[in-house]
Amino acid sequence: MTAMLVLDILLVLSLLSLATAALATNDARRSVILFMAFGLVLALAWGRLLAPDVALAEAAIGAGLSGALLLTAVRDQAHRALRSSRKPVHERGRANLRVTLEWTVTLLCIALAGLLAWALAQAFDRAPKDTLAQAVSANLAISGVSNPVTAVLLNFRAYDTLLELAVLLTAALGIFALGPARPGHRAAGPVFDGLARWLVPALILTAGYLLWVGAHAPGGAFQAGATLAAAAVVLRLAGRRSVGLPTGHTLHVAMVAGVSMFLAVGLGLLVLGRPFLGYPPAWAGGLILLIETAAMLAIAATLVLAFFGGRPTPAPGVAEKTS
């Protein structure tokens, strides 16, 4: 018990100090790297709190892909975006105002943390309300899968997941509308190439495994999609231009695969006289796997697009710019 307590305290302290360090520095690259480390420790915390599904997603998406996105943003100097609009403060009165503002906001934030912690403590002090968790386990047998988290994500609260895929699609379309992709990376040396050569197939294999295993153990479409996207990011970093991602119309198909498969299943069932997304228990497992496969493709396509930062350009003959 005490060993666990020591681990808990270590975890919590490193979380807080990493977050503070990431936010206190003015160096953008340092901040991003510390944030990635924060994400990895957070994944450990999820594991400690018995949330392996979340730990997998955090490691892949929260630390990995977010980190890759933020790092390329630093490379593109995107962190300067809002800065120029603020003029440096010279006058004494303005500087005093700024200090007052900082203190007010800081005190308000501390008050907020205290209030939240106090209310949370009151909520914990009551008998835990397990009604929903019990309802999940009572209906797990007819949900089509045996991993309760997957059952919630793709059956009981599948509508949330449908809207979440719509959020991903919206982000991709928004990025699309802003213009073409940034120039690629220069070709890596033989060592990284060699790593990519076996890492990419291994990642694709892992993605397939995660998708399949999600039905009865931690894993699922989101973790699998993120792993697939990671494979593409590795290829891109190795200097491959289009990383096997389709361009033009086929890319659109990949991006909307998740939403359209969800809608097709939901509306199909509605037409057959069942509720929207009300799978018949006998088919539930198959339908969920179908939706998850499409969702994995959409997630991977969207995350890779986000990493590209725009529409991929189909002009492989042109020499690539290096930055």
């Binding site: 309300k129 609260r157 959020v167 379309l173 509308a177 939403v259 509720p275 009300g278």
Partner: protein
């Protein structure tokens, strides 16, 4: 009948997918989707007026384990307003974006925004509301930056960051609710919630997030640049609908789910912020030099009126008196939505025809674009709150309620705000009706001008002269 609820969400979403997959046919697909979704919204309105509130359990799972969609009179009316504004703006957007490639990129985002608006108005689950808020925020930002102009992208980025802050506050409140009550379903929560620290901390967090999204003074600073630098059909929808659905959610939480918690002091705070918004927003609208900024600042002010209703409603005894005043709030919100959308569309026409929207250089607009100028005048009638517009009925209820509860301050603010609104509207009209020395023949472009004209006419005549059904509907759908 309950299936209409899911169709209202599935239809625009399917339209978004279809426009993306068939970019060449995207404009006809979008128009068909818009008409169909509006018909479904009309059907829902009729169904709610006949049968009272409706609900639909997605996947057949009971609410709690699953997610339920619900529609009562309030949400049905707002859904109808959303449909009208989106339909009219869709028709206008089809002519506004002249390049087919731009249209093909625009429609999917547009229809996703519509999906999120409908989903938010129908959702009966707190976490699902968080997801719809994010969908709404992201699609609104993507549309606000559409076209990629520097000012628009900059405003959109700030809009996105503040929207994300708001959503995170909302989510923090949601997690507290789940910790305390073990449910996310609004109907279950309404019965379970008690006036205790867990509930009011959660309500405070969620409200803070939503106030940021509704741009209530002093959290309004992101709104004018974002709304004024977007393209015209997008500005129309941002000002008329996007801030309004966040307000709807506040009303839902304060008047319905957490009604037992709301104290006069809290409602009074909202009222004071609303009063400040009215005065400051109207003043800024009067001072600005650009027509689009004027419309955006006017949105800040008009949202303020909606918040004045909070202390007034709370001071009235529950029952017919409060219900009548509540009808005034709804009709004011509906009128503002229709009128402001029409105003932005009309401004878009002027901006495209004359290449600018500087108020001082509007001379001759009435000669060149008579129908558009008329639409602006009609929108002005609604924004000032003159009879016979719906806003007159709304403000009348606000004044009557303040009078009955002896809250004189709100009466003064309302009168001052209306005078300021009259000043900024007449300033525009004065310039627009100013004669231009050299003659220009007038043009009328039906497909461009009709949407603005219809929306503003509905705001003035439709809601003003036929306001009674609104009260009936709110009653039957309660």
């Amino acid at each position: 009948m309950a299936e209409t609820l899911i169709w209202l969400i599935a239809m625009p979403m399917a339209g978004a997918v279809a426009t993306l997959l068939l970019p060449r046919q995207s404009t006809p697909i979008a128009c068909v989707t818009a008409v169909a979704a509006s018909l479904v919204a009309g059907t829902l309105l009729y169904a709610v007026s006949e049968q009272g509130s409706l609900s639909y359990e997605i996947g057949g799972w009971s609410a709690g384990l699953g997610i339920a969609l619900r529609a009562d009179g309030l949400s049905a009316l707002l859904l109808m307003m959303t449909a009208l504004v989106m339909l009219a703006s869709s028709v206008y957007a089809g002519t506004y974006f002249t390049k087919a490639a731009a249209r093909a990129r625009f429609w999917p985002l547009w229809l996703l925004l519509w999906t999120s608006l409908n989903a938010l108005l129908l959702s009966g689950d707190l976490f699902n509301l968080y997801v719809t808020l994010e969908l709404l925020g992201l699609s609104a930002v993507a549309l606000a930056s559409f076209g990629g102009k520097f000012a628009a992208v900059q405003a959109a980025l700030r809009y996105l960051l503040l929207g994300l802050l708001g959503s995170m506050m909302f989510l923090a409140g949601v997690s507290l609710i789940y910790a305390g009550y073990g449910t996310l379903d609004l109907a279950t929560l309404t019965l379970a919630v008690e006036p205790e620290p867990v509930a009011w901390t959660a309500l405070a967090l969620m409200s803070a997030g939503l106030l940021l999204k509704t741009a209530l003074f002093p959290l309004h600073f992101w709104l004018p640049p974002a709304h004024a630098s977007a393209s015209a059909p997008v500005s129309a929808v941002l000002s008329a609908l996007v801030v309004k659905v966040a307000f709807y959610l506040l009303v839902r939480l304060w008047m319905d789910v957490f009604a037992d918690l709301v104290t006069p002091a809290a409602a009074g705070l909202l009222g004071v912020m609303g009063a400040a918004a009215i005065l400051w927003g109207s003043w800024q609208a009067l001072r600005t030099e650009r027509l689009k900024l004027l419309a955006a600042w006017s949105t800040v002010a008009q949202l303020g009126y909606l918040f004045l209703f909070f202390p007034v409603l709370l001071a009235l005894p529950p029952g017919p008196a409060r219900d009548t005043a509540f009808g005034g709030l709804v009709i004011l919100a509906l009128t503002h939505g229709l009128a402001k959308a029409g105003l932005f569309l009309a401004i878009g026409i002027i901006q495209q025809r004359s290449g600018h929207d500087r108020i001082n250089e509007l001379n001759g607009t009435a000669q060149r674009l008579p129908a558009t100028t008329f639409a602006i005048a009609l929108a002005g009638v609604a924004l000032i709150g003159l009879p016979p517009s719906g806003a007159f009925l709304g403000k009348w209820q606000l004044l009557a309620g303040s009078f009955a509860s002896g809250q004189w301050l709100w009466i003064l603010v309302t009168i001052a705000g209306s005078l300021l609104a009259a000043a900024y509207i007449f300033r525009v009209l004065g310039h627009a009706f100013g004669n231009q020395s050299y003659p220009r023949h007038s043009v009328t472009i039906a497909r461009e001008e009709w949407p603005a004209l219809i929306l503003t006419t509905l705001a003035v005549a439709g809601l003003g002269l036929a306001g009674a059904p609104v009260w009936n509907l709110l009653e039957s759908g309660a």
